[in-house]
Symmetry: C2
Subunit: 312 residues, 2 copies
Amino acid sequence: MRVAIAGSGAMGCRFGYMMSEAGHEVVLLDRWQEHIDAINANGLRIDWEGEDRVAHLPIMRPEEATGDFDLVICFTKALGLDPMLKAMQSVLKEHTMVLCLLNGIGHEETVSKYVPASNFLLGTTIWTAGLNGPGHAHLYGSGTVALQNTDGTDEGVAAAKRIAEVMDAAGLNTEFSANVKHAIYRKAALNGVVNGLCALLDCNLQSFGDTVAAAEVAPVIVSEFAMVAALEGIEMDQEEVNAYIRSIYSPEAIGEHYPSLHQDLIQQHRLTEIDFLNGAVARKAKAAGLRAPYCELVTYLVHAKEQLLGAK
Amino acid sequence: MRVAIAGSGAMGCRFGYMMSEAGHEVVLLDRWQEHIDAINANGLRIDWEGEDRVAHLPIMRPEEATGDFDLVICFTKALGLDPMLKAMQSVLKEHTMVLCLLNGIGHEETVSKYVPASNFLLGTTIWTAGLNGPGHAHLYGSGTVALQNTDGTDEGVAAAKRIAEVMDAAGLNTEFSANVKHAIYRKAALNGVVNGLCALLDCNLQSFGDTVAAAEVAPVIVSEFAMVAALEGIEMDQEEVNAYIRSIYSPEAIGEHYPSLHQDLIQQHRLTEIDFLNGAVARKAKAAGLRAPYCELVTYLVHAKEQLLGAK
């Protein structure tokens, strides 16, 4: 298979390296020039469970990609997916499958601008990876991938299973699962509660958990996620999700943690992924003639805060 | 008439003094001990348009009031109204009229716990007043009062007109107006847009006016105020109110100003009046089987921020 890694940070390097080791032709795509230069000069250096390795994988900016690909594995940030796919549009062919392993929801809206729904695969992974610096990955431990087609057809299921088999054979412990969308919605609902609100209230998870917002606002946001999930045939157990969210507030869990959106917006004044959490729910509800007002308002307020902080 | 001033800060001192000068028996009620002590020791000192005056008015804590009153003029903060009326409950008789000149909406819920709806008058005023310190008011310039009954009866109108005549005869330029509730809702809608949101976003009016929140959130909040106003027979012109709100953002207007709720919450870590702005709209909507979700969420987030800041 000819495989493009769209977004070749730490996780992209892991997946690209493992697919390449399994005999596939892998091209890394990224926009980080020091990373590109380092890999072009010295190959991709890897600390593999304490063992130094070097992989000679081609890396380039997405607009420089040529030919066509059987599989594109997307590891961009949510905001980077659209510009990435746009830049590599000429190499997305009729048979190119696009697998998104990003957090958040609503990426099918982005991907559908470039490939048909039958080519879109959604996945989750618990693999990890890190970068020591440009061109130098450290890859420790194990993980799994679950992926699913989203077009609702038997052909789609068959295509997804084929991709899962190929990735599994490369050691990526990948399986087809009909529950991927459910898992993605469940995680997105958690993030849809804590990310925007901890940023707007400027607090960590434990402090948030002690407020009236955790008690009164969180269940309404979960109900809005459940409403749009139901439109896509996914049944969310709201009680279970609410209990899951409450479980993270304690200092024994991750209560001292500031969610990533707080880090992006409040600490680093960066544009956020709110449009792929609460914003996606608001859009999906509106498109169906419904309303998700709490998600709407949280999205507007986060965007307002981005404007006030001059986020980029 | 026997008149109690419930909340005898600067404005209470003005109204109490002018009613007393017109021959009414006035009792000042307050909880600020230095203020009470100063007035008991030296009388109420007044700088009246540059002329020093002294008024010997009785002042006490509300639980110390005795006898009964024909009129109670309320000048507490919104959060202080309930404890004030509760403390003076024994002197609120069948014939005691209660006039509220507080900002915000929903005070009828509070007053109705202590007197029947037929005794409740709602008013607005543009009189001003200041305090130089405990027991020392400065009273400059002129103003007006408009007041209205809220019980919808002809007897209520007649009673309101009687009170207006008495206050007008005391020089308070007071008239009965059937538009008081409309004026109160219009001002509350403005405050319902800018107070909570400028506090949550930590910005002044001009900066707020440049955000997506001013463009997208403000009209929804105004529509929620209009919805509950309509339940009370008040028709708000939403276009006009939105234009009115937009007009205050410019630096030539009051754009550099931080709304009072920002001052209370963010600058001074005090409990806010949100329950008498957005919170009142959310409650009134819910009581009518409707929803005002933006007002609901703003109220919860402001209360959450109060908790996080340890506001008192």
